[in-house]
Assembly symmetry: C2
């Protein structure tokens, strides 16, 4: 079995609420996480909610990073989805866990796009 992508779903609890509620900081951290993993950034879209919370996505050549924060619970739902073998999604995930100062993080890696025959990811 061969997979096109690796998708990490990370639950970050006990994060710093003031970081999770600051759109600019969340965006900077997410963009830097993509860079730390060696990804190539294509699109960045973030939104601040009232009274609290930030949602945003970094589209990368290798797929995407997404985040939704609940500062009131110190919680962030983080996705790091990468394809190809050049980028390791765990590099981004570990960076984010540190920067959001998560006290507790659980993550699951899901394989995306499973084929029985070897597949070659298109050359972007």
């Amino acid at each position: 079995m061969y997979a096109l992508g690796r998708h990490i779903l990370a639950e970050m609890y006990g994060c710093a609420p003031e970081i999770l509620d600051d759109q600019e900081t969340v965006e900077k951290i997410m963009v830097q996480a993509a860079i730390e993993a060696g990804a190539e950034i294509r699109e960045v879209a973030f939104h601040k909610f009232s009274p609290q919370g930030v949602s945003g996505v970094v589209v990368i050549s290798e797929s995407h990073l997404a985040i939704h924060t609940w500062p009131e619970f110190g919680y962030a739902a983080v996705d790091v989805f990468t394809c190809g073998t050049r980028v390791n999604p765990w590099d981004a995930c570990n960076y984010l866990t540190e920067k959001f100062r998560a006290e507790h993080m659980t993550a699951t890696e899901v394989k995306r796009g499973i084929f029985e025959e070897p597949v070659k990811v298109a050359n972007y």
Copy 2:
């Protein structure tokens, strides 16, 4: 156990390649899927890759929809992540399966943001 969000990871195989490779069409279908589910759209960011493939995200008040397509394999990796009880992510997922003309779709729903006590989602 209470969860803040519901996240569907859908694998769509046997999709129409000409649809998956058309950024404008993929974007329209994704936006319409959010509307079909009753979500409120906040940000839209899509990117066309060369020689093929489209990646994009629709940030909604209730979280996000994301897609990465591999027209050469007729495959799309689709995420529909919603929070709150007002929007049903399966409405969007079923709409997308139909519009991409997927011959075969498998999906998993993952609960995101699990707390032992009842949580009330912030009023956006």
